[in-house]
Symmetry: C5
Subunit: 278 residues, 5 copies
C-alpha cells in the first residue's frame, strides 16, 4: 500500500490538492472603505470638505477614546487588538469544507504511504501554523489523547484572545460617542460664553458638532462592525480548527479515512458536505 | 388492501386532497406598503412631496447601511438575504394543521396500496421540495433512522439560514439610523459653516434632516418588521418540517396511520388538532 | 353518605357558595382613562384643546403603528388581540383562593352525594367555560390522566395566546414612538422648506410635534401598561386554571377532599390559604 | 442542667443579650432628602425658586405616573407598596450576625433550662413578629419539618411581596420620565400655537420643561434608588429569616448549640462569623 | 533530602525567586489622567478654561450623585468603595503565572526540607496577606479540607466585595448623567424665566450645560471605566487566589510538586504555562 505514489492520489482529484490559504476578507475592506467613501463624497458634494477637519476635535475623540478604553483593559491587550483585527477580521480563512478536504487528503496519504509520508506535504502548510503543528505532532507520534488536548486548548486560547479583542472593540464603540458628546459640550460651552460676534456662532457650532460626528463615525463605521466581523470570523476559524483537530486525531489513531469523512460531515451544514471518496 | 383505489380514499374526505401551497403573506405586503402609503399621503397633503427626495441623502443612507452591514457579514450572506426574505417573509406556507392532514393522507395511501403507490402522488408536491424529497426517500426505501437524520439536519440548516438572515436585517435596522445621524451631522456642519444667507438655512436644514428621516423609515418600517416576521414564519416552517419528518418516518416504519395522527396531535395546539380518521 | 342534602353542605359555610365571577378590573380602566383625563385637563387649562387634534397626524401614528405591527404578526393575530385584551386585562377573574374554595365545595358535593350530583351544580358555572368543561369531563367519567392532559394543554394554549397578544402590544409600544418620530420629521422637513412667512413657523412646528405626542401617549399610556397588565392577569388566570385542574383530577380520582385542601394550599401564598374543613 | 440560671448564661457574654431591633436606614433618608436639598439649594441660588412650582405640571407628572402605574398592577398592590417601602427601605434590620448571636443565645437557654424556658424570653421579641412566631411554634412543640416548611414559606412570601413592590417602584421609575415628556410636549404645542407675544415664549417654555424636570427628579432621585434599596434590604432580611429558621429548627430538634453555630457560620461571610461558644 | 540547602533550590532558577508584588496598574492611571488632560487641553485651546468651573454645578453633580448612590447601598459600602478601587483597580497584582512559579518554589522547598522550612520564607510574603495566611495555615498543620474551605470562602468573600464595589461604581455611572440632566433642566428653567436681557442668555445656557458636561465626564471617564477595570482585575486576582489555594492544599497533602505543576497548568492559558521542573 505504501508504494502507491502521491501522484496516483492526486490523480483521483485531478491535479489539484485542496488548499486553504488565508485570503483578504473583501467584505470587511470594501465595507469600511466604501462607507468612508460615501461619507467623503457627501462632504465634497456639500462644497467645503476642509470644514470637516479640525485637529483638536480629532485629538479629543481619538485620544480620548483610546485612553478611556485602555482604562478598562491593559496596555498590552489594546496594543495586541490591532494585530488580531488584521489577522482575523481582514486577512483570514473561513472554509471548513476546504479544511475537511485537506484533512481527508492527508488522511488518504497517511493511509496509503504511512504516517511518515506526511513529512513531504507538511512543508506546504508552513503558512498555516495550527495545521503545521498538528501534522508535525502526528509525525512525531505524540499520543492521540495528548494531541487532542493540546490542539483543543490552543483553539480555546485563540477563541479567548479573539473574544477579548472583540470586547476591546465593543468598548471603544461605546466610548467613542461618549467622548464625542463630551467634546461637543466643551465646544458649546465655549461658544455660548462668547456670543458677542454673531457671525462666529455658526462656525463655532459646526466645530462643536465635529466631535459628535467623529464619535458616531468611529463607533458605527469602524469599531462596532469590526467587532461583529471578528466574532463571526473567529467562530468560522474555530470550526476550521475543530476539523483539523478531528482529522489529526483520526490520522494519529490510523483510522480509515472514510470514517473520518463521515465524522467531519456530521459537523458540516448539508450543502457544504464533502465527498472525497466516491 | 392494496386494491382499494385512490378515489375510495379521496372519497372519505370529499373530492379534496389537503394541499399546502406557499401563499403570499398579505400581512407583510399590506403592512409595509400600507405604512409607506400613509407616510406618502402625509407628504402629499403637506404640499411639496418633491422636497423629500434628495439623491445624496438617499445614497448616504442606503449605500452606507448596505456597506456597513456587509462588514459584519460576508457579501454572499447579504446577497442571499434578499431571496430568503422573499421566500420566507412574503411568500410562505405556515399551516402545520394542513401539513398534518397531508401526511395522514399519504400514510393512508401507503397503508392501503403500499409504499410504491406514493409514486403517483409525489408529483403533486414538486413545488414543495422538502416534502418531495422526504416522500422520494420513503419510496427509495432509505432506512428510517437515516431518513430522520437527513430531514432533521436539513431543517436545522434551513433554520440556521433564516436566523442568519434575520440577523442581517436586525443589524441593518441598527445601522440605518446611525447612518441617518451621520448624514444629518454632515449636513448640519455644512449648513453652520455657511450662515451668510439666512434664506438658505431652512432648506439646508431640511435636507440635513432627510438622512435621519430615511434612516428611521428604513429601520422601523422595513428592516425590523421584516426581521421579526422572518423569525416568526421560520418558526412556523420549522413546525411544518417537523410534521413532514414525523410523517415520513412513520410511513417508512409502516406504522398504523392512526398512531401517526395521535403523535402529530400532541405537537399541535388544541384548536388546530386534526381528526382524519373518524 | 349520598343522602346528605346539598343544603346541609351549604349550611356549613352559611348560605353562600363560593363564586368566581369575572369582574371588571377597575385598576385597568381607572388607570387608562384617568391618565387620559389628566392629560386632557392639562390641554384644556392651557387654553386651546383643539390645537391638539390634527387628522393627518392621527392617521400617521394610528394607521402607521397598526400597519407596521401587522407586518411582524399576522392579520388574524392582531385582530384577535383586541378581544383578548378585553377579556384578560379589563374583564377578568384573578382569585386562586376563591377557585380553591369552589373546588373544595364541588369535591365535598361529589364525596357526599356521588359524582353525578355535580350535574345539578354544573349549570352555575356556565359562564366559566374552563371549569364547566372540567366538571363535565368529570361527570362523563373521562379517565383522570386524559382529563389532566386535556386541561393542562388547554391552559398552556391559553397562556400562549395571552403571551402572543402581550407581544403584539409590546411591539405596538415600540412602533408607536418610531412612527411619531417619522411623522415629526415629515412635518419638520415641510416646515423648514417654507420659512417665507415667519408667523407660520410656530403652528407648523406645533403640528409636527403632535405625531411625537400621539406616539408617546399611545406607547406609554396604552400599549405598554396593557401589555404588563395582560401578562400579570394571565399569570393569575393560569394559577386559577391550575387549581381547577388539580381539583377536577382529585374529584375524578375520588380522593378525600381534605387531601385536595392540603394539595391546593401548598400552591397558595400563606395569607391566601383556604380552610374549608374546620 | 435545667437549674443553671439565665443570669449564668448572660454572664458569659457580659450583661448584654444580643438585640436585633429594626433601625432607621439613615443612608436612605440622608440620600433622598440630601439630594433634594442639593437641588433645592441650586434653585434658591439661581434666584427664583418659585418658578419651579407649577401646579398643572405637578398634577400631570404625579397623578399621571400613579394612574399609569396602577394599570400595570392592581390598586391593592400600589397601595401596599407605600407601607412596604417604609418598613423595608427606611426602617429595617439587616444584621445576620446579630440574628445568629440571638439564635445561639436562645439555643443555649433551651439547652440548659429546657424548651419551655423560652417562654420567659419570647416576650422580648414581640416587635419582631417572625422570630416571635418561630419561638412560639418551638414552645408549642410543632414538629420540626412542619415548622421549617411554615417559616420557609413565610419567608418566600415576604420576598415575593418585596420584589413585587420593587417592581411597582421600577415601573413608576419608567413611567415618570415618560409622563414628563408627554407633559412637555403638551406645553410645547400650546406655546408654539401662540407665538404672537415674544415675551411669553421664555416663561411658557420654562413651564413646559418643568414636567420633564419633575419626571427626571421622581424617577432618578426617588423611585429607582428606593427600588434598588428595597431589593438590597429584602435580600438582607431574607438572610436574617434564614438564620431564624435554621435556629428554630435546631432548637426544635434539641441539637447541640455548637452544631448550630457551625451551621450558621457556613452561611455568613468570613468577617461576620460569630463565635458564641469560646 | 531535607539537607538540600535553599540555595541549591534557588540555583536551579538562577539567583531569583519568583516574586509577586502588587504593582501600580499604569493603564488605569494613564487612561484616566490622560483623558482628563486631553479634555483640559481642549478647554485651554478654546480660550477660557475658567468658564468650565462653576461651583453650584459641581455641587449638584458630585453631591447629588454621591447622595443618590448612597440610597441604593449603605454608607459603609460607599465609603469602602474608595479603598477597594485603589487596591484593586490601581494598585494590584494580576499574574497567575508568577503565582504558579511561587507555589512551585514553595512546594519544592517543602518537599526537600520539610513543611517547617517554609517558616523561613513566609516572612517574604508579609505584604501578600492571602498567601501569608495560606502558608501559615500549612505550617500550623491545619487539615487540608479545612484549609481549602477557609481559603475558598475567603476568595468568594473578596470576589463578593469587589463585585459589590463595581456595582456601586456602575450605579454612580448611571446616576451622574441623570443628575447632570436635572441640573441642566434647573438652569434652563431659570434662564428661560429671565429672558429680559438677551446678553445673558448665552452665559446662562453655558452654565446650564455644565452639569450635563460634568455628569458625562464623571460617568464615561471615571465611574464606568473603573467599574470595568475592577471587574477585570478582580477576575485576575481570583485566578491568583485559586493558584494559591491549589498550591497550599497540595503542599499540605505533601504531594509531589510535579503533580502540582500539571494541576496548575491545566488552569493556565497555553502561552502562560509554567515549567518549573525541567
Amino acid at each position: 500500500m505504501a508504494n502507491v505514489s502521491t501522484s496516483a492520489i492526486s490523480a483521483r482529484h485531478g491535479a489539484q490538492r485542496p488548499r486553504l490559504r488565508p485570503t483578504v476578507d473583501y467584505a470587511t475592506l470594501v465595507g469600511v472603505f466604501g462607507a468612508f467613501a460615501v461619507i467623503g463624497l457627501a462632504m465634497v458634494l456639500g462644497g467645503s470638505p476642509e470644514s470637516f477637519v479640525d485637529l483638536p476635535a480629532i485629538l479629543i475623540v481619538i485620544f480620548g477614546t483610546a485612553l478611556v478604553t485602555v482604562v478598562s483593559f491593559s496596555l498590552a491587550e489594546v496594543a495586541r487588538a490591532g494585530s488580531i483585527v488584521w489577522k482575523t477580521a481582514v486577512y483570514h480563512c473561513e472554509e471548513p469544507t476546504i479544511a475537511a478536504q485537506q484533512m481527508l487528503y492527508l488522511a488518504d496519504v497517511a493511509r496509503r504511504r504511512g504516517r511518515l509520508a506526511l513529512q513531504d506535504t507538511v512543508r506546504e502548510f508552513r503558512h498555516n501554523r495550527f495545521l503545521h503543528d498538528a501534522i508535525n505532532m502526528v509525525i512525531d507520534g505524540i499520543p492521540t489523547e495528548q494531541l487532542e488536548q493540546i490542539l483543543t486548548s490552543e483553539t480555546a486560547s485563540m477563541r479567548h484572545r479573539h473574544l477579548r479583542t472583540a470586547g476591546v472593540l465593543r468598548r471603544a464603540g461605546e466610548v467613542a460617542p461618549a467622548m464625542g458628546l463630551i467634546g461637543t459640550l466643551v465646544g458649546l460651552v465655549q461658544m455660548l460664553g462668547n456670543l458677542d460676534d454673531p457671525t462666529t456662532i455658526g462656525p463655532s457650532m459646526a466645530v462643536a458638532l465635529l466631535t459628535t460626528f467623529y464619535g458616531a463615525v468611529l463607533a458605527n463605521m469602524v469599531f462596532t462592525p469590526l467587532a461583529t466581523k471578528l466574532e463571526r470570523n473567529s467562530e468560522n476559524e474555530t470550526s476550521v480548527h475543530r476539523v483539523y483537530t478531528l482529522g489529526a486525531a483520526s490520522i494519529s489513531r490510523q483510522e480509515n479515512p472514510r470514517r473520518l469523512e463521515m465524522l467531519l460531515n456530521t459537523g458540516l451544514p448539508p450543502g457544504d458536505r464533502v465527498s472525497y471518496f466516491k
